[in-house]
């Protein structure tokens, strides 16, 4: 059906995937059982298909886990091919992008759209390998103003203005 994971890195990755999916299936099933019964329910009910989906995902996860465990014995050790340090570096930057996005969501009601989006632009430039200097600051500020003009003034979509108006 499918070639087995070729390297130990692939096998480990599949093992993590299998366990993660099994956890999702279990959590989703537990939540599905909490859906209340209805007096007007059909034969399948509101819980029916969610429970079936959870069972299918669990079954697929077990297959993946089994395949990964079996492949661990035959896989080629290619750890050197995939530099752990390099992977960690990429992982950190990716997590950084998420943190920047999450911070934007958390701070925009207080800092307002222009300041927050300027901060998001500057931080993203840094995470994507650019330099945080005066030029970047100017571009972030200009970009924020441009986006504010586009969304708020031109399209008439009110973005959060933050605490600034209350301070005036």
């Amino acid at each position: 059906m499918r070639r087995a994971p070729a390297t130990t890195v692939d096998a480990r990755r599949e093992l993590v995937l299998g366990w993660a999916m099994l956890a999702i299936a279990a959590g989703y099933y537990a939540l599905a059982t909490r859906i209340p019964e209805s007096g007007i329910a059909d034969a399948i009910g509101a819980q029916g298909l969610p429970k079936a989906y959870a069972a299918i995902l669990a079954l697929l996860s077990i297959i993946v886990i089994g395949r990964a465990l079996r492949a661990r014995h035959t896989a080629i050790d290619a750890a050197a091919a995939e530099s752990a340090a390099g992977l960690r570096h990429v992982g950190l930057r990716t997590a950084g992008m998420l943190v920047v996005g999450a911070l934007y969501v958390a701070l925009v009601p207080w800092l307002g759209y222009i300041v927050s989006i300027a901060g998001l632009i500057a931080s993203t430039v840094a995470l994507q390998g650019g330099r945080l200097d005066r030029r970047t600051a100017a571009i972030a500020a200009g970009g924020a103003l441009l986006l504010w003009l586009l969304f708020v003034r031109l399209l008439g979509i009110p973005h959060p203005s933050g605490i600034w108006p209350s301070m005036l």
Binding site: R2, I35, G48, S61, M97, G101, G129, I139
Partner: protein, 481 residues
Amino acid sequence: MAFDALGIVVAAFGGVAWGILGGALPGISPSITMALLLPFTYSMGATTAVVMLASTYIGAEYGGSIPAILIRTPGTNAAAATVVDGYMMKLQGRGGEALGISLYSGFVGGLFGMLVLVSLTERLSAVALAFTPPAYFALGVLGLSVIATLAGESLITGLMAGVLGLMISTVGTDPVTGLNRFTFDSPELLSGIPPLLVLVGIYAVADLFAKTGEPDWGKAAREEARIKFPTPAMWRRIAKPQAIGSLLGAFEGMMPGGGGAVSSFLAYNEARRWSKHKEEFGQGSPEGIAAPEAANNTVACTALVPMLSLGIPSSNSSAVLLGGFLMHGLIPGPLLFVSHGDVVHGLYIGMFIANVAMLIIGYLIMAPCMWLVNRPRPYLMAFIYALVMSGVYAIQNSMFHVGLTLGFGVLGAGMKYFKLPVLPLVLGVVLGFMVESNFRRALVISGGDYRTFVQDPIAATLLVVALLFVAGSLFRRLRDT
């Protein structure tokens, strides 16, 4: 039939311009370009919105050839075949000619694709009213059976992604009992998770996350970017490869997982096989540009055949377009032609205009395109991120939606890492509600009799086709291992 003619023209031109700019940026695929635009189409009329998205697809397929020819870096996967001869022509000082051949061939392929799209999809409107809940359920199952083909190298992980999509589709109010499921008392989840957020997260945000810190692409000189349209002699020479590309693109576009990249390489190979100048291929052959470019622009039209007529997206880009339909309360499938025939006809007209607009905009937009491609990558990525965050918020002024989109971005990046294919998840999300609601409705109507699914002739036929489809895919996989 009444639609905003001016709106359609503006949407077609605007969509093509956006598509060319997006497609010209290496790594930004047509589906990502469309996903970035998706939030902005929310407040538009339904016809204008879908025309703009479809026009973006058309524009992006051409846009991908610009960096392929000028800096040897395809803007889209489908433009990879154009690199070979396009870049060689550029090295020979014929970059403008190569761009002209690409633009003109894309136009020819697009028009052919339109003919195929209109002639095939229109016929389906005749059977629309015969569709019952069992038939709609079977149609959804047929759509999900496509996962067997789209699953990539592992059927198991493809199925996993599909089930994840089905799980996401269960969030919200239950279609039969009206009970809340997986809403965690959040009023914003009562109506379910909008597919739009999944699409923007999975495609645009996940791509930003996954490509963090990648090296910058090459830059091009401005003087290389003057388009030179083909002469009549060149028209005659590239007519055959254009025909080959258009025919292969028409077929591949309708096949699940076919897409522009597959058709482009097939077209390139076939054009070479049938050419009188085989030796020129790889050395700067105009035919080597004409065939793949005609193919990928044909695909941009014919990929809409299964999407419009059956509600089954065969590629990432058509999945995003499907999201655009759903966002406006339009459910692609047989009934669309009856209940919203005006939107479908408006789309046809818009796509025809978009193909013509591509010739005009493609010529005029080269300077801003070059400017954009020459910007440092970190700044471009930062602005794309800012645009996504602002655009998603603009849909319903909801920061919750922005957070959800980020969450789907993480899911998408995780799927890339674990090599889970994305399209099966999207299929699950967009088809999940249709499958569940019609499955249960059919059973309610039949009094719980499961035979209803084989007694309805349309349902039975569709289920048999789905079964054959899965069996065929499994057979191919077994044979290949």
